[in-house]
Symmetry: C2
Subunit: 374 residues, 2 copies
């Protein structure tokens, strides 16, 4: 793999790395982690960061050290990896469905404090059977659909499902939802969206309590709306993920400034197909295909740090064609740095992240939970 | 990783695999490989399949066994992997730029017959210096821009670059280009596009010959246009990639029928957010974000094999929200199979492919050149 030795002993100039390479600005990463932890502390809520963004145990350890009370993941393979790495309080914010996954979840529940998502009676029933077979119990949070229409029980059916979960003998830990900022029909400022999201979920929590059901946790995402949601009394936990690195989507929504973006992709100009075009060695197999929603004022698949106004206008798998602004001087062999639109999918395409400070690579982190094992 | 043992001894029902899982229909794969090999043979051209599609040595071996004379890859890390696996005739159809890559290319050129792309004087000069330092030579093909405007020298400047390559002492092997079917301003049938593409590149070859330059190979992609291009006298080689598996993009262009598609993604229905929606455990980290170009009559991010008219309408990272046609009966826990829009980027997201025949997993292939090492 032509990689230098792993671990803290690595210390060499980042400019010596071959491209494409995902560089993490360690100072910015640390500042982002501290800022979100402080915001959660100030709001009096738990922080359970979503680690699907980085899939790196070392970064999750930094989040825990800054005050996170546990971690969130999107799938069992991520939970299994983090458990292997010593994390003992993990929430899989996803419905666990199917015999394989139920068995894996039950086994993992015998090893660590595991919380899993449930959004259907079928899911709850499968889980209780799997737990019985393994002789363990896992904590359950019922997912409520807050308007994304992708998973979660409808709010008006949530109380019944919560009751089912209790009747089946599962250990109810609370409610959770995710809507983020880009749900259908989104209106208002991000702060307003966060508060609306919180009100929706708290309404379900109140309905449960009115039926005498104890709801411990009321948990919400996300990086753009989480801090506002955390201010609403009754919300107990937030699960932002992207904030560790930020990306074009967060910049476009004014969630952060470009100076907060902690992950960039070092690329090399390999061709100049036209005076206003420069092609770099990073395409859809490096940047991923996510686009910033229309209207946010950002075009293309990635922005160029060194050249304001330059962006990746087209991609093939290994080619990124950059549209240059008039007068930009770029030559073959130049090294540029791209900000991806969506950092979570870009990280998922890379074997490793390079932790950089003052231009030196200080550490190399494998993206350990890559792959597609469900 | 919870994987069964690797190798030919694996034999178990595919339905026992956890999802998401990339399943390769071994009979269809074999038929696709044989069909393209026969078409190239019939046209009298060499076949040098593009292995970025699968990144699997075993599949490349099947292609060689069927008559391919060498392989094509998109980047050095792929070439290095295939060389480690015993492949000794590899074309990197990409400009090699930057000190690291030039050194790696020169070293690899000392081990196998390596051909690399050149589309600029800077690239040619870098290559000759790196080869001199390592005391080796690598063969060079000059890339001509056939209208994609992403890499390749403009046709009217190609002869001069070819002359530069010769003057620098590099070993000229010929010309290559790629335009595929979806270039800007594409018109005509696929066969017409293939013939136009061939005529463009042959025009440059003729201009070189008129200057007394010997052009051995005139090489073109692709799965949609390659066979038509191969019919044009003077074309010596084609480099299709996707044909081993096919995908929605090929179906949409009538390059194949759905019955030829050899790779599907087994998924599980995890939620039913609405009567006309079913959410499965495969999103943008499984299917990739490629869309079928507008006008091709295919909407969304993936088609559902079992339900005509159903397609993945929206994706999050681990959620695929399927729009169901009226009357479709789908319940939580159901297993479905998706055809991805673009198989190359979907394969790039998976650790392994499962080779299936008659419902049994016969083999497990690691996608060996995954990652982003340039």
């Amino acid at each position: 793999m032509n990689l230098p030795p792993m671990g803290d002993s690595a210390l060499f100039p980042a400019r010596e790395l071959d491209t494409p390479a995902l560089l993490v600005d360690l100072d910015r990463l640390d500042a982002n982690i501290q800022r979100m932890a402080a915001a959660a502390r100030k709001a009096g809520v738990s922080l359970r960061p979503h680690c699907k963004t980085h899939k790196c145990p070392e970064i999750a350890r930094m989040q825990i050290a800054a005050g996170a009370e546990g971690i969130t993941v999107a799938k069992l393979s991520e939970a299994e990896m983090f458990a292997d790495e010593g994390f003992d309080d993990i929430f899989i914010a996803y419905p666990i469905i199917g015999e394989h996954k139920l068995r894996r979840a039950a086994r993992l529940g015998g090893q660590i404090r595991l919380i899993v998502g449930v959004d259907s009676f079928e899911g709850a029933l499968g889980l209780v059977k799997a737990c019985d077979r393994e002789g363990v119990n896992v904590a359950v949070r019922v997912e409520v659909d807050l308007g994304l229409n992708r998973s979660g029980v409808a709010p008006d059916k949530a109380v019944d499902l919560v009751q089912n979960v209790i009747d089946l003998g599962l250990d109810l830990d609370g409610l959770y939802g995710y809507r983020g900022s880009g749900y259908p029909g989104a209106t208002g400022t991000l702060a307003e969206r966060g508060r609306q999201e919180a009100d929706l979920l708290l309404g379900v929590a109140e309905a449960c309590r009115a039926r005498g059901i104890k709801i411990k946790h009321v948990s919400l995402g996300s990086t753009p709306t989480g801090i506002a949601a955390a201010q609403v009394p009754g919300i107990t936990e937030i699960r932002p993920g992207t904030y560790v690195f930020h990306d074009n989507m967060q910049v476009a929504q004014n969630v952060c400034t470009p100076a907060d973006v902690a992950l960039t992709i070092a690329v090399t100009v390999v061709s100049r197909p036209a005076p206003d075009l420069a092609t770099v060695d990073a395409g859809s197999k490096t940047l991923a295909g996510d686009i910033v929603p229309a209207g946010a004022g950002l075009t293309g698949y990635g922005q160029v740090v060194e050249i304001p106004g330059a962006y990746v206008a087209r991609m093939s798998e290994e080619h990124g064609v950059i549209q240059l602004p008039p007068g930009a001087e770029v030559k073959i062999g130049d090294r540029l740095h791209l900000i991806p639109n969506h950092v979570c999918t870009a990280v998922n395409l890379s074997d490793v992240l390079y932790g950089v400070r003052d231009g030196q690579v200080e550490t190399i982190w494998p993206v350990m939970a890559r792959g597609m094992r469900g």
